[in-house]
Point group: C2
Chain length 222, copies 2
DNA sequence: CTAGTTTTTTACCGGTCGGTACATAAAGAC
DNA sequence: GTCTTTATGTACCGACCGGTAAAAAACTAG
């Protein structure tokens, strides 16, 4: 056992908790990330979290509630690059950070391959419908945030006036979701970066013209 | 009961089968497509196939074997556009048929949303590892077929000499997989077609130049 | 010390999973 | 008719699922 910390201030009374709930959440994230919502059994979770089953229920509620907390944990941790990407000054920089950061996240050495939001609950399980809808809702929210970022970019002259923010945002998130599937299928980081590069190669620009476009085919895959 | 067909030639002896195995396979496909491999329980399958459990095992083997047969059924039925796409004369026509046909398939009114090969077994279930690898293998095979089609196109002068067939193929299948995720999330057919159009808008060409590229941003999302 | 509070531990619940044993039904062979 | 062969229907198996009851343990308050 570990050495007990002395409580510096009034402790809440009752038997003290024997585990760090933040670390337990981290471990739960790893399991859900690797196995999905339905694929992660309570035994998988409690084993990884080094917690007994009733302790899990007392601390985090049922499996659904735990998964929701894990989703927040994921958004603020591994998935945080998506939030920061929106702060980039130009739409191209936003997309660049999204795609490259995505390629890196989806193939990060210590993490499961793929995106928790994509693989968490696709078609598995009859009882996972509410969680599937939750994931869809979060993915849609990301797409809408990106769309409004592109709308702003068009207003600022960063995107051409005839650009369609909704379609562009959907195009980008489609590529990211596809990269997640590719990563889960074993694609390497450099392979995903190549895909990102192709998508970036012809990102619309309203002011500067790429000279390459004059006489060279649009994308070559290099 | 149905009217018994008269056997025109020697029947194999024994009690005749009371169901059409092709129809049963169709119904099994619907269930696997909608719920995935792990998500489709034997009760789901037997109910949909209108077959008792032992009949299923006698006719198709266990759940894994049934799923493999369903995969073949899928490839030759709903997914057959992918095969025919490779026969198109130009790489652009191949991609066009792949993306537009994919958008149509993934949002076909009578079918489950998404692609069986993508959603069949992503992260669900601890025992579905072998099926997951099977699906990954089939997806990889498709990507390789597309890559060699692009290699041929480059050899024929249909693609520029500096085009990279491997990266282009990976880019296209990434978009298709992403469209599958989008479809499962509720994207409509026109939305997916917009994504396909964006990807098509700048497909490399070695001979003809798009005049639009001279003074217009590469992609606008329209 | 005792009383009260909260967490841990063990053991268990009903339900569902994939898979099967067994008896019966329906056909051909004779 | 009887024998053989194959398919069907019922009823069941052990394993695992998510979730919980109940008792023991560890702490504070007095």
């Amino acid at each position: 056992m570990k050495s007990r910390k002395r409580a510096p201030l009034s402790r809440p009374a009752g038997r003290p908790r024997s585990f760090d709930s933040a670390k337990a959440l981290d471990r739960a994230l790893q399991i859900f990330w690797r196995k999905g919502y339905a694929g992660a059994s309570l035994s998988d979770l409690t084993t990884a979290m080094r917690i007994n089953r009733p302790s899990l229920y007392a601390a985090f509620g049922d499996k659904e509630t735990l998964f929701l907390r894990v989703l927040d944990h994921y958004a603020q941790g591994p998935g945080s690059h998506a939030l920061h990407a929106l702060d980039e000054p130009t739409s191209r920089a936003v997309v660049e950070k999204l795609l490259r950061g995505g390629a890196d996240l989806l193939t990060a050495p210590g993490n499961p391959r793929g995106c928790l939001l994509v693989h968490g609950a696709l078609t598995c399980g009859n009882n996972a419908d509410s969680m599937r809808r939750e994931l869809i809702s979060r993915r849609t929210a990301s797409e809408l945030a990106l769309r409004s970022r592109f709308t702003r970019a068009r207003k600022e002259g960063d995107l051409p006036k005839d650009a369609n923010p909704a379609n562009l945002a959907r195009y980008i998130v489609t590529i990211i979701h596809g990269m997640s599937v590719q990563a889960a299928g074993g694609a390497t980081r450099v392979e995903l970066r190549c895909v990102a590069d192709i998508a970036l190669q012809n990102w619309p620009t309203s002011r500067v013209l790429h000279k390459k476009q004059l006489g060279t085919p649009a994308i070559t895959g290099d």
